[in-house]
Subunit: 362 residues, 2 copies
Amino acid sequence: MRNYQKDANLDNRLHKLIKFFDIKKRITIKDIAKALNLTSSTVSRALNDNSRISEKTKQAVKQTAKELGYEPNYLASALRKGKSNLVGLIIPRANSYFFSSVVKAIGDRLSIEGYNIIITQSNESYEKECQNIESLLYTQVDGIIASLANETVDLEYYNKIKANGVPLVIFDRGEDSLNVDYIGIDDYLSSFKVVEHLYNQGCRRIAHIGGYRHTRIYESRVEGYIDALTKFNLPLEESLISESNLKVEDGRAIMEELLKLPNKPDAIYAAGDFAALGALQVAKENHISIPDDIALVGFSNEPFTSLITPSITSIEQHSEMIGRLAAETFLDRINNPDKAVKLNKIVLDTELIVRESSKKLK
Amino acid sequence: MRNYQKDANLDNRLHKLIKFFDIKKRITIKDIAKALNLTSSTVSRALNDNSRISEKTKQAVKQTAKELGYEPNYLASALRKGKSNLVGLIIPRANSYFFSSVVKAIGDRLSIEGYNIIITQSNESYEKECQNIESLLYTQVDGIIASLANETVDLEYYNKIKANGVPLVIFDRGEDSLNVDYIGIDDYLSSFKVVEHLYNQGCRRIAHIGGYRHTRIYESRVEGYIDALTKFNLPLEESLISESNLKVEDGRAIMEELLKLPNKPDAIYAAGDFAALGALQVAKENHISIPDDIALVGFSNEPFTSLITPSITSIEQHSEMIGRLAAETFLDRINNPDKAVKLNKIVLDTELIVRESSKKLK
DNA sequence: TTATATTGCGCAATCGTTTGCGCAATGGTT
DNA sequence: AACCATTGCGCAAACGATTGCGCAATATAA
């Protein structure tokens, strides 16, 4: 009796305190259970539409859940079920058109299935990328979708993901050596198409402003370029090929070198639009007409390529589709964990968008 | 004895099974505890550098943690501590320059403090925005940073966030009515500066291609425009003001209307760069010289504004700083939950970037 | 009518960490 | 020597939801 009195007193004071500080008590399934004289098991099953619960009880549970303002705690659920409904995303940076388009597509697709995405940026740093992987694994993500940093060569950390049984999907930048699902484009063929187009426009000395060849996609682009030159019997010269970060400044610097050549190129194919832009700027400054003196083609179909004058011919990578397919590849893995044998290697066709910068023939 | 025998047997078979399927057993603090003949309490404290644990024990714990390949489970920790180290982000869409820049900045800033960010997109839909809020709250995020969808007028859902005691920071698009921390720019003053600049360039009939005025930022821009006109004794005419979504097509359509006017404007100030671009396109098509016939100014300083010809004068919003400040405002709230009284309303200065499209005077 | 399914729900363990409290051993103070 | 403070660690209960198992009560079949 004494004890009861004390408890009631305590309860009373607690309530006053709660009211005073306007603390909103979290409503849990236990509260719903108490209100209906049930157990939390039943409430949980009712909310999850378990077949062993009567329709009547389900209604009652859902009703009072609403009345009490119940809000589920996904963390608790995730801990128990071993499934967080979170997908980790690792990208070099968020503020580029390509990556942000992919992010948008992945987000849109996965939100339909009830997943949220955690976005992390490597800023092209290998170290940061490793930190991101750890952080995502510790957060118990159900999968990771990643595009590798430029720096990343060692892939031990990515094996860690697989070792944890977490599905991994790589897009765009990725190594074949890594035995995982991959979504990308046919860089080799795209390059080939570019050169073919330039050849058809009458160009015979085609320079290539390339990315660093230790990255597979840029290596493939160089190979496509070289093979196409060979096919069309065009000169393949050291001085016409370069490697860089493909920024605007890089394009500018390389273009300046090219213009110093005794035997100037009549076309420039840059493996990135920003480098192409740099080249265009230098051409303009030197009163060299694009495309009449030199034709120009970029890569990625950045929005600005269609807006500037002259508009720049480029390669459309279908970034939104890459994102959607990456998301769906992950979903496929999650929904069929058994058929873990066959890898998905999706290589998308690209589209050559011909614009003013390479239209020599009207 | 019998029992023990049975258990050992079971254990044995389980181990074989594990080995067979190559299942990696999750290492928990319990395993570390068992290995060192400690309890999980001690292990937990040791890993968290609790002062009540001897240095010797800490070393031992950390050592075997590494040896066993221990990986913490943030979900469990979050559940117990009531802190997830996750921050929710709600933006209209990820693939715009402004928002992706903000995302990048927020991500970079918060990752330093050990937070991960969950990104959700409203796609300008009020309904989706509400779903996002719910989803984020259920995921137990420690805070939410949001920019409202165009559609969003009713803010009841945002009050739900505050009711849950979750810090909320709004940036860019937000209502004053909502009593929360806010980071944005001075839209009124920016508009004023634009008109002032155009006036100084000799323009006397200035049209405004505006956004929908039910969104505060666009309303403020209109007000700044009007007040500046008044100050400089310029004509304020219905026909010179419009409302739209500020897309390229909108800019085009409105420009065509403006060109039909008997008394054409000599300057156009668009509240968005894409609308400005549309106007520019139409002007070019009609052989109207920008800036000689009509001066043009946009808003947002999208990357393309500096790349096209003529380059477009615009307003730089410092998106990266907005992101950083939004992140820091959140951190401030989290670290000082007590001083919940004073709201942060940060209004950043913008910068008028004068380019070719509005340079009448050399 | 008896045997067997099915339905409806509760018990209690569990996911992996954290943390208030308690207890013993040691150290330091008068 | 008696007393208190500190140090080092364990006990056990949380956090909130899920789930295998078990036990009645009812429904169905034989």
